[in-house]
Every structure is written in structure tokens, then in C-alpha cells.
Symmetry: D2
Subunit: 350 residues, 4 copies
């Protein structure tokens, strides 16, 4: 029973098959192979964005850092949630790739930035002229780091505030598919139609080995993105193996099926948790990430039996048994109903 | 018949098998899995360097940029061959990762830096105090970009000059295995025993999908390397898939067998070429990369028949038939004797 | 009546005299002149720190950015007050000079960081391993941006928390002299004896034209500081004109006299303000910077009559007359008792 | 007798007078004072470029680094002479300010880039796609580092090559006034009319204390330049003291008079040198910088008698008396005819 992260789960078998298929014979290096061109076109198609520029990379942090640095000048500040991956989990990669831009943290609700909070934060930053940083792009995360999900309308409302201020919008979509599966929005509705300029389209967390797509909906800066990728040491030489992963992902909607499966398991998990006395759900989760609280004693028992998940509060070892501690539980495409059931049983037995 | 690059060839089947094997169940993310620890230890063992720090990454440019930035302060200059990959093929990644260090180009013979040339270049740079840049690390490439190979003794002689000046040494070993196979040196003899402080240990060109190891022989800066990797957006979340590739590579000496095979094919190729009138070999090649010259007309015929390789001079389309143009021919682990034979036949027929 | 900033005031006449004196004949460029050596030695003497490394520069932001980048690695975060100049007024210069380090904002009281707040902030940042940034230097400001002053003991208490965590300390002393004048501490007591590793020793705000000293109390990184200054384009060619300013400043304690004068005027100002109904002082000011609040109507009258100072709240033009708005009032060495008196009279008349 | 550099000479008395005049009363900080606006307008006027954006800074390296970073993307390369100040004397400041752009060195004649050499160098760099760097701005220096001078027509011819390739042009004019005085070109003819986009307009070497103007002839990027200056820690708070220097410089053509005086002394010096047996002039000097060669023995005598100048070859102490060594001799506005005469006498006596 492993709910530590969607990163701890395996790749889908069709991804391995695609790698094997792509492994035949020779292919041009550095993204000039036919499969890469095909996958880029397929992504543009799925997003109803014929002009989009696509750059495949191996990590989500790379997609974020490349896109944010394409949108932000070094003397600007990027508006993002105080709990965003960009700020908390990328070891200054955004600052590095932008050449020293700042991140201005926006207080969020469940990881979601509200239009009012954003408007206030932009107003606060925009008052110091050259002493400032200048206001720069807004970066959202959907699914958020707290497991909440923006609807397409909510993304649009935040983008509208960015637009009022002439600022572009980046969306960190490491779990973009899960957000679509949870809301029923189309890829385009959740991105450029809502006002998003650049999307980190996640793959690794959702069944790939190591593949993400950095997407710019306006191709005017496509060449810049290509140079930035190479300069960032993110351009794979045997690029067909990035393309093959993404190709399998997109084929027959596998990517959406995998996300739907993960969300379904998370829904079962939440139904089970809510039926247990002393367990509380946080942050209105509707996708594959769940935050919950329950007594320390119960955490001790669960973790002692080998279940994996992240405690967000502590300490585990000492303190009153009945104090409730927050944890995060993530389901992924390969999480089984049996795993979920067994975990709920374990908690229920207390 | 594809001699364009070792990047255009496939991954070895045992690599795919290893990926499938690693794909079972859960594994800790971000390099904290057991397979990663095992592979890092195995590398230290192969290099007889128990204290070495290892960071697996997906691209050779990443390994180079991370290591060079660990060795070079931003106000220093890196001494490298004028034809080095670092300078010519990484789109300023070294400058980016170092925060703006300079590269001081050393005139090379066949891509090899001589002790005297290096000594003179360091002396020239070290005369301007704070107006300078300060002299920084030396970076060698073995196999060189022109296909020549440093012997262990030659590496040692260059490192000695660096040492006289208190400068550390990086070795770009994208084709390190080919250099070992060509010279019979041991991994340690060709690296730290010769005075190398940091090695980019190549895998992708030699049969992996996307995996390289950045190795620091002195672990004092291991933590810095780990932070730099994450900050560079180079830390894979499903890290087991980097480890699995490297594990297959190291098992039973596969990495050396693959390099030996590539070198053997290149030897056959060179033997064939030398027997053809009007064909000339350049740069004393002994590994898997060959530079040669032959008449433009012969290039036209070969390329028209679908052979792939890089022309280093041009133009192909216009100009006298009998002017000799330089090209590069690369063999890799999967290049077949038949391919080599067919290509030689094709050229021989003229 | 100008209380806008100590930057809006003039240079002291002895500074001009010193420039004229330094202007005779030839002097070595780039800081190799005799006057520079003399001034550097004089500073080390004043700080009872014979080993200190000194770099004169033209702006306070340069002193801060150079010192912070000497103390902080690019993958670290700098702990500073949420109102610090470093964060709010330097347009990402710290991020630029450090190569992309982050600033972690510590909630302050009147711009002063408390040991507990710092301890908690460091603990919060130090939990994410390579995903983090790593904890880096602590940066204090004395006099703070809100006009409050750390005593030497308070600086020591904050430095102790940094020390527990192995972190170095920078002190932004743009108004260092005013802090000394307000507390009676010696230069050494307020800096290295309290645990400060690096000091931005301000001159411009206190009667110079454009001269600050970046001081490292441990000279081990003196050479790095020298290279960083040149690389940052901060090394004056006719360096004697930086040195001449600083020389006049240090001669016969002029720097302390000027700060004492500014503080004295601010004390008169505060005494006057406290006697006026409806005027409230903020942040326990004891040096030359005063924050106060009074009714909007009174601000309108004062500003309409040509007094200069910064309103920190607004709007001025619209809104109820009797709502109290915060402003900042700065006295400098040349502020006269007459100016202060006239301003108090003006406010008293209402 | 000091011919070491124009940086070793004094500031002009009118500069000191202007500083004293500017020192009265209060002035807005950070460049918002009236004198700054006046000086910026005056510069635009002198250059017949009403739309030009001007940023005053304290060092020539700052002007160069700010302008080059405004023109060059981090993944580009800057074309400059192999002897340029940008490359040889700024300790990686261009690499730092651009965020890691490369410098591509163009072989020059006397520090002058020829159209053909530039065309060839651009062609060579533009062949590697994203592996590149991409071709970026061209940077010229006039007067060159070897004392030669481009005519306006020569600048235009080089700019034309840049234009053919869509590349902008920067001109390092640390000695721009001396180039005008030597050629009779107008400021506009030597800059934007010839195709220059950005000019480092030197002041310090020509009689100021520390003041240069970074000029962008197209104001579209004026705001960027302003942010870059502040982010680079180059914005003076008491900015009136930068403006005052520049104001005195521009008043009644002082800047041109000073350059003309320096050039005149250099002409006298060269006339004297040419009349001495065994002395040879290099690089066709016509402005205030002279390179010459004469026997080692003669250098020993001159330097032993306290004359200051830079030897470009050595060693001085050992070696045959009659081997000729190269040196640089710089005249500045305050160099006297007596100094020149005495030096020539000294050499003539041998």
C-alpha cells in the first residue's frame, strides 16, 4: 500500500512497448526524428492549437523552469501560490532559469489563487518603479499542491486578472490530466481558451517514465523555447525515446484513462476515509491527491504496518495519541481498488 | 547505412529488459530508491574510488554543465579545446550553469590539448588580475571531438599542467568507454589516477536511452552536486529508470563490450577506407569516430544512395567533383560489419 | 522642508574638499592608489578588525549584492525581513548577483528579526532536502527600514541563531552610523563582535556623494570579493574618488558626527510630533528615520505647502479628512533645527 | 611623466565646480532630479536622436554590460574583437549581465573588425542550430584597444554586415570623443547614422570622475534598460552627482575640447617618437593611445627614471638590451606638452 506519490508508481506497459517499438533502427537525434514531429502535431491537435510550440523534456521542473523563464524577464517577479511546486520544490530552478527573477507568493485557498488575492498582490508589487521587481507572469497549478482543482471558469477568472495587468499566464499541469478528468473540461478549455499562455503538460506522474511537454500556445517564441531547452541541457540526444513515451500516452486517450483511474481510486479512498470516525478530509479534493487528518496513534499503526504516505505534521514518535496530524495520500494509475480497500480496512480497525 | 552519430543508433536490448524489470511495483522517487544506491556504489567500485560522488542525469550536456559549474567560479575561465563539445555544441549551457564563466579556447591537435599549449594559455590568462577572468578548471574530452584518443599518460601530462597551476580537471567522457577500449586503460587510470577530478561518464552514445553519470572523485562537494542537479531541473522523479539503464550498462561489462564492438567496426571501416584511392583519414583515429576526406563527387554518390554521415565541408551541390571534402563517420554498438562492408563497397565502386 | 530621504540631501563640504585634494596629479587606477590602501586600513582599524577585507563601491545595493552573493550559494535561500531593502528595493539585484538564490522572508517587528522568528523560519526551510533551497545566510538591516534600531545585544542574539544553524550573517548598514549614534555601541560591537560576517557600511545616505564599503570580517574570501566587484562592473577606474570620499568621512569621526546630527534632528522632530494632537509615532524610532500617522487632511495641508516626505498609505486626494495615514520622515546630516521647527509649526497650526 | 592610462589622470576643474554647484539643497534621488532630465535631453540633442534612451552609470564596464545584455539573449553569442575590453578586461561582466551569453572573438587589425572577418565569423557561428549559440549582437570599440580609429564609413561598413544578418550593433565608446576628435565625424555620424544601436559614451577617461552614459538610440527598450541598471546595482541614489559631471562635460563642448587636447599631445608624442632611432610605432594611431616598440635597454632607463606606462611584452629585467619590446602610451586631457617633451628628451638621450 503506497500512497506516497504518483512518482513512486510504475510506467504503463504500453509505454514500455512504445519504447521497444521506437528502438528499431536509426533515428535522427535531438528531436529531428519523425516520431517527435508526429507527437508534437498530435499535441497541438489535442489542444486545438495548431500554432502551438512544443518542447518535450524529461522532468516537470524543466518544463516549469523553461516556460517561466520564457515568460519572465530577470527583473520581474512571478506570481504563484505560496505552496506552489515552483516555489517549494524546485530548489531555485525558476530563479536559475530566469536569471534571477523573484517569486511573489500569493496566499491561496487549498493551493488555488483567487482573483482578488492575485489582484491585490499585483497591485502591491507594482508600486515601486525600478526599485521593484516589475510584475511578471502568473503561474497557477492544477491540480494544486493541496489536491484541489480549479474549474475552467476559475482558471479563466484568474487569467482575466493577469490580462488586466498585461501579464502572461503559466499553468503547472504536472497533474493536468487529473484536473481534466475531475472537471470534464477539454484540454483547450482548461488552458488557452481560459487565457493560459504556457502549459507544463505532465506525463511522468501519470504513467510515463520521464516525459513532460512544455507548450507555448503562441508560437512566436518557439525558437526561444528551443534554444532555452538546449541551453538548459534538457534536449535529449536520442529524442525518440521521449517522443515514444508521449506517443503511447496520447494514443487512444490513454493519458485521460490513466488519470480517470487514479481519480476513481482516490474517490474510493475518500469515501472510505469519510466513513471512519476521527478522520477528516481537507482542501475539497476531487482528483487523485487527498489531504486528510487523523489521530497520531492511528498514523503510528498504519505506518508501522508498512503503508507509505507523507505526514505533513509531526512528530510521529512522540506526543499525545489523539492529536490529529495531517497527511497526504496520492493515488496513481496503477493503484488498485484492493490497495485502497486494504488501507481503509486497516484504518477502520484502528 | 547510418554513420551520422552514435546518437542515431538504438538502445541495447538489455537496457529495455532492465527498464521492464525496474518497472515492477513502487520505488522511492528522486533517487532514493535501492537500485540507484546500488548503481552508484557499482560505479564507485568500477572506478576504484570508494568516496566518489555520483549523480545520474539524462543528457551529456547536463553532466558536463553540472560538473564544470561545480569546479568553476563565475569569475573564472574554463580551459578547453577550441573544438570541444562544451564550447561548440552546448548552446552556452556551461556559461549558463556556471553563472557566466568564460571558456578559454586552447588550440588542439586533433581535439587533444597538449601540455605546452595548455601551459601557454593559462599563462596568458593569468596576467590581468581582477580584470581577468581568473584561471579556472581545465576540461578535456576523450575520445576527442575529432576522434583522437588521449592515452592515460597523455591525460596525466595535461593534468600535471593543471596541477602546477592549482586548477582542477574535468573530463568529458561522452565516449569514455570507447577511449578505454582503444587504449586498454582502466577506468581509474584514465581518470582520477591521471589527475582528473570530475568525469562525465557517457552512456547514451554507447547503448543507453538517456543516461549519463556525473562523477566527482572527491566527495567533499557531493552535496553541492546534488543541489546543483536539482536546481538544474536534472533530477528525475522516477529515478529508478535512470538507474536501471546504468545498471544494465555496468552489468557483466556490457558498457565495455559495446564500446569494443563500436571500435571494432570503426577499425574495419578505416581499413576499408584506407584501401580506397583518393580517400584520406584524418586525426589519427583509433576509437569509433573517424574523420576522412574524399572527392566531392564520391560524397554526392554516397549520400544520394541514402548513406547518412556529416559533411564538415561544403558545399555538396556545387563545385568541382574532385575537390576533397571532410566528413565524419561514427560507428556505434549496433553498427554491423555488413553495414560497414556495404559502405566500403559503395565507395570503392565510386 | 524635505524629509523624503537621506538620499535627497547634499554631500558634506569636507567631502568636496577631499575630492579636490585627491584630484591633483596622477594616481594608479582600479584601487591600486595609495589613498585607497590608506582608507581600507583605516576602516579595518575603526572596526578593530585587522584582517578585514574592504571593497569600496558606489551604491548600497552593490555592497549588499556583492556581500550576499559572497555568502550565499545559488541553491540557497537568504533569510531577511519582509520589509528589507534587499527584498523590496533592489529590483532583484540579490537574486542576480547570487545567480538565483531565493530570499526567505522573515516576519519582523518594526523591521527587526527576532531570534524566535528566525529560528522558526530556518526550521521551516530546512526540511526538504535537495527540493529545498538549502538554508543560507541571514541578512539584517540596522537601522531597519521602519526606523527601529537593533542594540548590539539584539544583533548578537539573532547571530546566535544563525550560528546554531551554521549560517553566516550579513548586515545591511546603509544607516549603520545612525544605529551606532543611537545606541552608543562601537563599530566592532555592532558587527563582528556580535557575530556579523559581512557588513554593508553606508556612506551615501550619511553625507557622501556615492560611496559605500563592503566589508568581510574574515579575509579568507577577500580575493573572491575583489573578483565579484569587478565582474559586477562595480570597480571604479579612478578609484581615488571613492577613496577620497571615504577618507573625509572617517577623518576625525565625521561619519559619527553627521549621524549624531541627523539623529538629533529626528529626536527634535519626534518631540514636536508627540506634542501634537492626532499625531502618532510608530515602530519605536530612535535614529534618523521616523514613521508617524496623522489625519489625511493634515497631510494634504503639509504636502500642499511643499513639504516633502513619503506617504505609505493613501490615497491622499480622496477619502475622509480624519482618517490617519502613515508617512515616513527622514532627517539627514544637513537637516536644520529650523526646518524641523518650521515643519512642526506647520503641523501644529493644522 | 605618466602615460599609463587616461584613468590615472585627474578630473577637469569644471567637473568639480559642477559637483559643488549641484550640492546645494535637496534633489530627488535615483535619477528623478531636474539636472538628470536636462543632461539626458542634452545628450539626445548632441546625438540628434530625440528618441534616445540614456542611463548614466559610474563605470565603463557597467555601460558595456548593460547595453550588451539589452541586445543579447543568453543563448546568443556576441561578436567582438579578440582584443576588446569586453573580452579582456571586464572579468566576465558581459557574461554575467547577459546571463551567460558567449563572446565570439573576431580577429582584428589593430583592434578593428573588418567587414569580411565579421561576415566569416558570423557564418561560422550560424551553422549549428540549437547546438549553437545563436548569432547575437556585434560589439565594436572606437578608439580601439590598440589605439586605431574607425572612420564613420568604416563603422558603417561593419554595421552593414551586422544588418545583413539581422544583428544589432553596440559600440564601446570609452574613448568615443577621441575618435570624433581624430576623424572629424559628428556624434550621430559615428553612431546611429552609421548603424550603431547602442553606445557606451565614455566620460571617465576623458576628464570626469566616474560617469558614463549608456545610450540606446531606439527607445523601445528604454524601460528594460532602466530596470537592468537598477538590477545591476548601478543606479546611484544621489544621482545628481552623476548628472553634474556629465553636465559639465557637455557644456560648451568641453568633452570635445578635452579629447582634442589629449589627441594633440599624442600627436606631439608620436612626432617625437618617430624621430628617434630604434623606435617604431604600431597600429596606425591617430587618437590619444599609442603603441610603440623600442629596445629593452631604453625601456629600462625610462622606467627607472619614474616614467609610467604599460609594457606589453617582457620581461623587462632580463634579456638582451637591444630586443624591442612593445608598450602603450596614453595621453589624457591634462597631459602637458612639457611632459611629452621631457619624455621624448629622455628617450632621445637613450
Amino acid at each position: 500500500m503506497n500512497f506516497a506519490s504518483d512518482n513512486t508508481g510504475p510506467a504503463h506497459p504500453r509505454v514500455l512497448t512504445a519504447l521497444a517499438r521506437a528502438n528499431e533502427g536509426h533515428a535522427k537525434a535531438y528531436g529531428e526524428d519523425a516520431l517527435t514531429a508526429e507527437v508534437e502535431a498530435r499535441l497541438a491537435d489535442i489542444f486545438e492549437a495548431p500554432g502551438a510550440a512544443v518542447a518535450l523534456v524529461g522532468t516537470g521542473t524543466a518544463a516549469n523552469a523553461l516556460l517561466v523563464s520564457t515568460l519572465a524577464a530577470p527583473w520581474q517577479t512571478v506570481f504563484c501560490a505560496e505552496v506552489s511546486h515552483l516555489h517549494e520544490d524546485e530548489c531555485n530552478a525558476p530563479e536559475f532559469y530566469t536569471g534571477g527573477a523573484k517569486l511573489s507568493l500569493v496566499a491561496s485557498r487549498d493551493g488555488k489563487i483567487t482573483p482578488n488575492a492575485l489582484r491585490a498582490r499585483i497591485a502591491m508589487e507594482g508600486t515601486r518603479g525600478v526599485h521593484g521587481p516589475a510584475p511578471g507572469p502568473v503561474s497557477l497549478t492544477n491540480v494544486t499542491e493541496r489536491g484541489a482543482v480549479y474549474t475552467g471558469a476559475e482558471v479563466e477568472a484568474v487569467c482575466a486578472v493577469a490580462g488586466e495587468n498585461g501579464l502572461p499566464v503559466h499553468l503547472d499541469g504536472a497533474r493536468f490530466a487529473n484536473a481534466l478528468a475531475a472537471t470534464g473540461s477539454s484540454p483547450a478549455e482548461m488552458s488557452w481558451k481560459a487565457g493560459v499562455d504556457a502549459l507544463s503538460f505532465g506525463g511522468t506522474k501519470n504513467g510515463l517514465m520521464a516525459a513532460e511537454a512544455a507548450i507555448l500556445f503562441d508560437a512566436a517564441r518557439a525558437e526561444e523555447l528551443a534554444y532555452r531547452r538546449k541551453r538548459g541541457a534538457q534536449l535529449w540526444s536520442k529524442h525518440r525515446f521521449l517522443a515514444a513515451q508521449m506517443s503511447a500516452f496520447l494514443e487512444d486517450g490513454l493519458w485521460l484513462d490513466l488519470a480517470a483511474a487514479a481519480n476513481a481510486r482516490a474517490n474510493e479512498l475518500r469515501a472510505g476515509l469519510m466513513a471512519i470516525d476521527g478522520v477528516e478530509l481537507l482542501h475539497e479534493p476531487i482528483a487523485n491527491v487527498t489531504f486528510a487528518r487523523w489521530p497520531r496513534g492511528l498514523h503510528r499503526k498504519a505506518l508501522a504496518q508498512g503503508v507509505s504516505y507523507y505526514l505533513y505534521e509531526g512528530p510521529l514518535e512522540s506526543g499525545a495519541e489523539d492529536v490529529r496530524l495531517t497527511c497526504r495520500l496520492v493515488c496513481h494509475w496503477a493503484t488498485t481498488a484492493e490497495d485502497v480497500g486494504a488501507f481503509i480496512d486497516l484504518l477502520r480497525r484502528g
